[in-house]
């Protein structure tokens, strides 16, 4: 059996049905064997797209998404996608072809040290030196990518090993044993720590839960909602935590952080106890961790011990799988109720900071109101991907997600060009139509993937919020650079409806709030792809009056 055949067999053995990839000499031996397999290879337009598609796919299926590329430039084009997956703990397997073993280290044509390059942002990576290792390495890679705190794993295989024939190691597979990696059994937390958590909650007058993406990774959405409905503790979320508590729930107080909403930040800052669930507390969520440490008591629950004490020092650290920890915690708090005064207080903040959206016609569409209508018209349970920028913030703050896995966004890495390919991957994974909400800048980063969409008949509903600017940077220059707008105009962009037409995708453009419903109805009329172009005022801000940039000094 050749090395390439072993690769395909191992992928099949790990339940892979779809690969996103791009060919070149070094991975050709693998592609050569795919026609004999049930695995479908989706040809993309740029390897970065393949990695993002694998990532969108993985977010939906919870199984590692697989992408492949050739050596050198193929491999380096994957890099942004791999780093994006790493920062959001998305399981992924990237398989790259490498130059033949004998030429390694000699700067051969299309040689790059991709394992060296990706080490800082892969969970693990392999350069295979012996073809017989292929089956074991691939099994290990799937195991590592999908257990514990998930992440991307890269496997680099020299072309000669793919082509060479080996005596396939038949017989029963050995169980995977990796001496330095024991993610199983990390689930439950130390009883003592759980008791301490319960005691701290019982004496707290103003508790709040900070829900992060770890809840999604741990599949603990159900447990979180049960915990919250029993205890009545208000919930704020980070960006990756959006949807863990239903956006429409009366215990959801919104997203915190520099682009969150003011009432969510205030709820956090006025609490006396923060229960941090599966969040690394990145600088965009909590700008001043030291300030928060001083102000309130902190409980930090995370599966990754290295997250505890990295950005913030909690009073009570708990290492464990959130699903297990919440299950351990619930019986200890069976008669706890959040004090009514605190609930009234946070409700008042929330309503004080909730505004009627402008819906008059003005030559522009109000993007927040647009997303609200989109949420209502889709029952708040569509798969929605976003790009990065204002579009992402408007979706995070206004689409009332009922399921966190339906919000597909590059949160930790903030990768423009993610939304379209991730939507394609998510659509392949779910078999459903996925909505991609994009800025006109980000869309143009990976717009070639429209070709992938069309070639493989993958239905994506494209929404382009067209403000003719790199909106988020424009906003940043308005606030922090005295309106010195530079390098943010997108003049020269195509007529997006004509672009859609060139790909055979029907489209519509709307310019007024009164056209929102008509536009959304056209978008959602059937299951097929559609492009809705929405004219947005370049001077819109991510939160308007709710924007935390306008918070008084000392409140972050």
């Amino acid at each position: 059996m050749t090395g390439a055949e072993m690769v395909v067999k191992a992928l099949e053995g790990n339940g892979v049905t779809t690969i996103f990839g791009y060919p070149g000499a070094a991975n050709c031996p693998i592609l050569d064997k795919l026609p004999d397999s049930a695995i479908k290879h989706i040809l993309v337009r740029n390897e970065q797209g393949a990695a993002h598609m694998a990532s969108g796919y993985a977010r939906v299926t919870k199984r590692p998404g697989v992408c492949t590329a050739t050596s050198g430039p193929g491999a380096t084009n994957l890099i942004t996608g791999i780093a994006t997956a790493y920062m959001d703990s998305v399981p992924m397997i990237a398989i790259t072809g490498q130059v033949v073993s004998g030429l390694l280290g000699r700067d051969a044509f299309q040689e790059v040290d991709i394992t060296g390059a990706t080490h800082p942002f892969t969970k693990h990576n392999y350069l295979i030196r012996d073809g017989l290792e292929i089956p074991r390495v691939i099994d290990e890679a799937f195991y590592i990518a999908s257990t514990g705190r998930p992440g991307p794993v890269l496997i680099d295989i020299p072309m000669d090993l793919l082509k060479a024939a080996y005596d396939y190691p038949e017989g029963k597979k050995e169980p995977i044993v990796i001496r330095g990696y024991k993610p199983i059994g990390m689930g439950k937390a130390h009883e003592m720590q759980v008791k301490k958590v319960a005691e701290a909650i019982k004496v707290s007058q103003k508790p709040v839960i900070l829900a992060g993406g770890g809840i999604v990774l741990s599949d603990a959405t159900k447990e979180l909602r049960e915990f919250v409905s029993k205890t009545g503790i208000p919930v704020v979320t980070t960006m990756t935590g959006v949807g863990t508590i239903e956006g429409g729930s009366n215990l959801c107080y919104g997203m915190i952080g520099s682009h969150g909403i003011k009432s969510a930040n205030m709820t956090l800052n006025h609490s006396d106890l923060v229960i941090i669930l599966g969040s690394r507390l990145g600088d965009r969520s909590v700008a001043n961790a030291a300030g928060l440490e001083k102000r309130t008591k902190l409980i930090h629950i995370d599966i990754d011990p290295a997250e505890i004490g990295k950005n913030i020092f909690p009073d009570i650290p708990v290492v464990g799988d959130i699903k297990d920890v919440l299950t351990q915690l619930m019986p200890l708090l069976s008669d706890y109720h959040t004090p009514a005064e605190w609930k009234e207080y946070v409700d008042r903040i929330r309503s004080d900071w909730t505004f009627e959206e402008e819906t008059e016609d003005s030559g522009f569409v109000n993007p927040r109101y647009f997303v609200k209508r989109l949420s209502e018209k889709t029952g708040s349970d569509a798969y929605v991907s976003t790009e990065v920028g204002q579009n992402q913030i408007w979706v995070a703050n206004n689409y009332k997600f009922t399921d966190p896995r339906h919000f597909i966004t590059s949160a930790g890495f903030g990768t423009m060009g993610y939304g379209l390919p991730a939507a394609i991957g998510a659509s392949v994974a779910s078999g459903e139509t996925v909505i991609a909400v994009m800025g006109d800048g980000s869309f143009q980063m990976d717009l070639a993937e429209l070709g992938t969409m069309c070639q493989w008949d993958i239905p994506v509903k494209l929404i382009v919020l067209e403000n003719h600017r790199l909106g988020m940077v424009h906003e940043h220059q308005f606030i922090n650079y005295k309106s010195n707008y530079y390098a943010v105009s997108l003049e020269g962009s195509p007529d997006f409806c004509k672009l859609a037409e060139a790909y055979g995708i029907p489209s519509m453009k709307i310019n007024e709030n009164s056209e929102i419903d008509k536009g959304i109805d056209a978008l959602l009329a059937d299951k097929n792809s559609f492009m809705l172009v929405v004219e947005v005022d370049p001077f819109e801000q991510t939160g308007g009056a709710l924007n935390s940039h306008h918070l008084p000094k000392g409140v972050e």
Partner: protein, 165 residues
């Protein structure tokens, strides 16, 4: 409060593992004071001994990050003074016919070995903890140190405790 710690790290003897470990230090902004790598009595397992200077929380964070590397099997963090520590120093000192015996006497006092002699230099070898090695260098300094080479510290716990893979 900053003090000196020793991380004893057992790793899979895979290619690239050292660069993964060292890369993690530079990437996360931790400084390595000294480093020593070698094979162990366990097949396929190497031992990396890393001396770092930092406060307890920083060192704990380093060790947690190292633990996340799949190739890292086991880590033990110790205060530098809890271990038996040894490093090896080679030092080449300038000599003249007048002071050659003085230099050799100093070496004797430290139980250093003279491993090479020439008309104008002697080269001495000394093993010991870093304070001993530094004291030796200080004593030789007035004669003119031409060149030094020093290994990183290696260390084992005192008593019966053993770091197992």
């Amino acid at each position: 409060m900053e003090s000196k710690y020793i991380l004893s790290v057992l790793v899979e003897d895979n290619s690239g593992v050292l660069s993964k470990v060292v890369g993690l230090f530079s990437r996360r902004g931790f400084n390595i004071h000294s480093l020593a790598v070698g094979v162990t009595n366990i097949e396929g397992v190497s031992r990396i001994t890393i001396e770092v200077i930092g406060d307890e929380l920083t060192v704990e964070q380093i060790s947690k990050q190292l633990n996340k590397l799949i190739d890292v099997i086991k880590i033990k963090v110790s205060r530098s003074d809890e271990l038996v520590k040894r490093g090896l120093l080679l030092v080449k000192v300038k000599i003249s016919p007048k002071n050659r015996t003085e230099v050799i006497q100093i070496a004797d006092i430290f139980r250093a070995n003279i491993v090479d002699v020439s008309q104008s230099t002697v080269t001495a070898e000394l093993t010991g903890g870093d304070s001993k090695l530094n004291a030796f260098l200080e004593m030789l300094a007035p004669y003119g140190i031409e060149e030094t080479a020093m290994t990183g510290m290696i260390a084992l716990e005192r008593g019966t405790n053993v770091l197992k893979a």
